[in-house]
């Protein structure tokens, strides 16, 4: 009997609402134990709801089955190679989940009095110190909730710093290779973005930069190594230029995994750095969060850091006392509730303890080795012709290929290649980014992968290109084996259906 569909394809998507039946339930709540008057005796009737929301009505076994089965419709890092460029899909140690779940962490109320949260505050302080050392900058705020939140913080810090010097500036520079959050953050912070060009070695085009640096420039945002996976060799000069013009230098730390223990943004001259704990520091990505985006800053930026800040005080000679410092008159204020994504801090601190100075340096080394090896493998033979590397030099932890010749010669777009990779059991690289590279494929293997994984991935690319020599149809209609096949994304935006319709 021939297969027409895979078992998962044969299973139609049904939501939990479509599995509901009136009267079914999972929760059994405790008895009230107290008087139970009609609610309208306690709250004016006009403030009460008429009908409860139409939540699912399903017993526990069916809830478990529903989400278990759904989970298998995801590809995940714990099942296979996930070379999604710029995302640092490195192993998520389960040890970190274990320590984060300890009741002393997981069940600690955020408003607990500091005297009864010394362990948590000390952990935060230790993480601050560790990140400061890794970044080469003296002060850290853990508050931002992700990289983009860190960027916004950095720009607001820049604004506060400049305002304190009586300056108001309007522009923020960012290379054309920068990540989308950079310009979006700039706008949210009330600045105007000015794009800086990239030179033929993949770094900042220095002439363009010189032309654009002036007294209106508040900040330059840079990723280094940048999103091409290349280290900007002119960084010292760039820093000097910006500082001379009175601006701040912001480091987008999404690519920190390339340089841990090898080079430090602070030493490069950066004033503000964000660190994506969900990238270099192994917080699981969770299908789109949670993460955390702590920032490390130089002395001159410190006064403006968000409130509250975790500090270590002397406890009248009784050892240290860890506290939340709210008394920060120049602070930009809060960026969110409470103290930040503490659960993420626990995981990342456990990771730092596990690897230590030696392990972090080794992780970056292996990440760089893996990327260069895979780049070399893909530069061989036909693949190297169809999918040339965008900038032909050693890369750091990732590299970018261009699918332009492939598209031209084989009729295969980068998207097709990506979709066909799904059939080979691989998560595709980041595609069509950075914008600068036509038909871009951005590949970041991370230190997690074995040589065998890298070889298998390279072979899959070679096989897909070989298939395409016969014609582009196979890849163009790919994928074939995924739970659903190519989806109509345009429809979803034109006529958005964003919730279950209840019948």
């Amino acid at each position: 009997m021939a297969l027409t569909e895979t078992p998962m394809q044969a299973e139609a998507a049904r939501t939990i609402y479509e599995r509901s039946k009136p009267g079914r339930r999972a929760a059994v709540l405790p008895p009230a134990e107290v008087p139970e008057p009609p609610l309208a005796e306690l709250i004016p009737a006009e403030l009460l709801r008429d009908e409860p929301p139409r939540l699912p009505e399903v017993a526990e076994p069916e809830i478990v089955r529903h989400y278990n089965r759904l989970s298998r419709r995801n590809f995940d890092l714990d099942s296979g190679f996930y070379p999604l460029g710029s995302c640092t899909m490195k192993h998520n140690p389960r040890l970190n989940e274990r320590v984060a779940a300890l009741p002393g962490h997981a069940r600690l109320h955020p408003a607990q009095d500091p005297s009864r949260a010394q362990g948590a505050l000390e952990l935060m302080w230790l993480l601050q110190r560790s990140l400061a050392e890794i970044c080469g900058l003296p002060h850290v705020s853990l508050q931002p909730s992700a990289g983009s939140h860190g960027e916004l913080a950095g720009l607001l810090l820049t604004r506060a710093y400049l305002a304190d010097r009586g300056e108001e500036r309007t522009k923020v520079l960012a290379p054309d290779t920068s990540h989308g959050t950079n310009p979006a953050s700039v706008t949210m912070a009330g600045y105007e973005v000015v794009k800086v060009a990239t030179d033929e070695r993949g770094g900042v085009e220095m002439d363009d930069l010189r032309a654009k640096v002036d007294e209106d420039v508040a900040c330059l945002m840079l990723t280094n190594p940048n999103t091409l996976g290349l280290f900007d060799e002119n960084i010292a000069e760039i820093a000097a230029l910006i500082h001379a013009a009175g601006g701040t230098l912001y480091y987008d730390g999404a690519n920190l995994n390339a340089i841990m223990g090898h080079s430090r943004p602070g030493d490069m001259g950066f004033d503000i750095v964000h660190v994506n704990l969900h990238k270099s520091f192994s917080q699981p990505h969770g299908g789109g969060g949670p993460g955390a985006g702590p920032i490390a800053v130089s002395e001159r930026i410190e006064p403006y850091l968000p409130r509250p800040q975790v500090v270590r005080r002397d406890n009248n000679g009784h050892g240290p006392f860890y506290d939340l410092d709210l008394d920060r008159p120049k602070s930009i204020g809060r960026l969110r509730g409470f103290q930040g994504n503490f659960g993420v801090f626990v995981r990342s601190y456990a990771y730092i303890l596990s690897l230590g100075a030696d392990g972090l340096a080794e992780a970056s080394e292996t990440a760089v080795l893996n990327a260069n090896y895979l780049k070399a493998r893909l530069a061989e033979g036909r693949a190297g012709e169809r999918l040339p590397v965008a900038f032909d030099r050693h890369c750091m932890h990732e590299f970018v290929l261009s699918g332009k010749p492939m598209k031209r010669e084989l009729g295969l777009a980068t998207l097709d290649l990506a979709k066909r990779l799904l059939d080979y059991g691989f998560h595709p690289p980041t595609v069509y980014f950075p914008l600068l590279v036509e038909e871009a494929l951005m590949i970041e293997p991370t230190e997690t992968e074995t040589k065998e994984s890298l070889d298998a991935f390279a072979e899959a690319i070679v096989r897909i290109l070989a298939e395409a020599e016969e014609g582009p149809e196979v890849a163009r209609s790919a994928p074939y084996t995924t739970p659903v096949r190519r989806l109509d994304e345009v429809k979803a935006t034109r006529k958005p259906v964003v919730r279950q319709v209840m019948t």
Partner: protein, 457 residues
């Protein structure tokens, strides 16, 4: 080679040969020499798993967590019982370890959960559109401000003092960036001062921000208060507590344009404040201005139902500086936990839980009000949190009750409201039994009495 990497010396040699360099150090030569670290980082050497565990456990042991203390503290995050299936499902690798679902064909699990979550939030708030979640509560308030500016082209926010202090502060922080003015309206008898609010809203007002129940626990008359916003064409933004919406009139039925809030009570741990998530719902009109990810339904080439990230043209990775928000990594796993918790509660359970909270809170209010030295801070209706005044220094009473009885009695209002420096905010969840409420009353009474007599209880 560490436990998390696999390159053996033999692998390394082969790989370096393929690359055509002699050592990994060669690859790092693109970093200018002066910027290359000569010394190892000043961190300890790596530790084995058991040692790391012991270190972290020792830190955890120095916290007074909600297993150790009976927790009446709320102020935005609450000690609800999270059923075991939430952890079991959220810890599945397939949900825990993927990235944002950029490749929908292999991300249907996560995308469908988002879609289900959006449906649940839409039902809770009675607004048609929900995103898949933002960082947390207060920054969602700031996001609403950004949306309102875009929608109205105005730059003035009128904010109730009943809005969570962290939300007000976060909104103010962001407003400095995107250039808006924040005007605060005070409280009266625990509720937002309706007259002052009406007076504050004008034709330049982009949005009015309310919270219900507000920070003092009072259920606001949102519809009445919102009239001023409607009148001047400002958006009405209502922050709400998702655990109360089984019984309280939802913002969508009270004229809210945007309903949002802190999602922690749904399926998320206390975690000393995070990670949790912020929910964000709005009217159809705002759908293309929404911040954050939104999953949408569609079809594959064979006509199979499927889900994708919809309306991506709002987002930073497509629209860059013109995006409706800068968010990228959000809190997907936390929203998933909320969805599983809500499925577990179910339609009936969710309502019952709301009722339970209201009734236990009413009981606690009555019980505490009867304690000598305790009086109600306001008499407005409450749902799950209540405010009292103590006739003794709040911090001393709290310390005493914690030390003597292992009770975290509540949140000292003086931290944020100088005008209520004798105020205590007491939160109720289904975990706080009648016996614990009775204990609290007794313990507070004893501590206040002792303070008044200047005796250590």
């Amino acid at each position: 080679m560490s436990r998390y990497t696999s390159a053996t010396p033999a692998d390394r040699a082969e790989m370096l040969a393929a690359i055509g360099v002699d050592s990994v150090a060669d690859l790092f030569e693109q970093i200018p020499a002066p910027l290359r670290l000569r010394e190892p980082l000043a961190l300890d050497e790596g530790l084995g798993e058991a040692e790391v565990f012991e270190r972290l456990a020792a830190l955890a042991a120095r916290n007074g967590d909600a297993d150790e203390e009976v927790c009446f503290v709320g102020a935005g995050m609450y000690d609800h019982y999270v059923p075991a299936i939430v952890d079991a499902i959220a810890q599945r690798s397939e949900f825990l370890t993927p990235y944002t679902p950029y490749q929908p064909e292999i991300s249907q699990g996560g995308l469908q959960v988002m879609f289900e979550f959006q449906t649940a939030m839409s039902e809770l708030t009675a607004l048609p559109v929900s995103n898949a979640g933002l960082y947390e509560g207060p920054s969602s308030v700031a996001a609403a401000g950004y949306l309102a500016m875009g929608a109205t082209k105005r730059r003035r926010f009128v904010v109730s003092r009943g809005l969570h202090p962290h939300s007000r502060e976060t909104l103010a922080t962001y407003a400095v960036g995107y250039g808006a003015e924040v005007v605060e309206v005070g409280l009266r008898g625990g509720e937002t001062d309706a007259e002052a609010l009406a007076a504050a809203v004008d034709a330049e007002t982009a949005a009015v921000f309310l919270q219900s129940p507000n920070f003092l626990g009072a259920i606001e008359r949102v519809e009445t208060l919102g009239a001023a916003a409607k009148e001047h064409g400002a958006l009405l933004v209502v922050a709400c507590d998702p655990m109360t919406l089984g019984v309280l009139k939802p913002p969508g039925e009270q004229g809210a344009d945007i309903a949002l809030g802190e999602g922690q009570p749904l399926g998320n741990r206390l975690d000393f404040g995070g990670p949790s998530f912020g929910f964000f719902c709005a009217t159809e009109e705002q759908i293309r201005r929404m911040p954050g990810r939104i999953a949408g339904e569609t079809e594959d080439v064979d006509g199979r139902r499927g889900f994708v990230l919809a309306l991506q043209t709002r987002e930073q990775h497509i629209r860059r500086e013109k995006a409706t928000h800068n968010i990228c990594t959000a809190q997907a796993l936390n929203s998933l936990a909320a969805m599983v918790h809500l499925a577990w509660l179910g339609r009936e359970g969710y309502r019952e839980l709301g009722e339970l909270l209201v009734r236990r809170t009413a009981y606690a209010r009555e019980r505490l009000a009867a304690v000598p030295g305790v009086e109600l801070l306001h008499e407005a209706p409450v749902a799950r949190e209540l405010a009292v005044r103590l006739d003794a220094p709040v911090d001393r009473v709290l310390a005493k009750v914690a030390a003597a009885r292992g009770i975290a009695a509540g949140y000292p209002l003086g931290r944020d409201y100088p005008e209520y420096d004798d105020g205590l905010l007491v939160a109720i969840t289904e975990r706080r039994t009648k016996a614990e409420i009775d204990d609290l009353a007794e313990a507070l009474g004893a501590a206040i009495a002792a303070e008044r007599e200047g005796v250590a209880a």
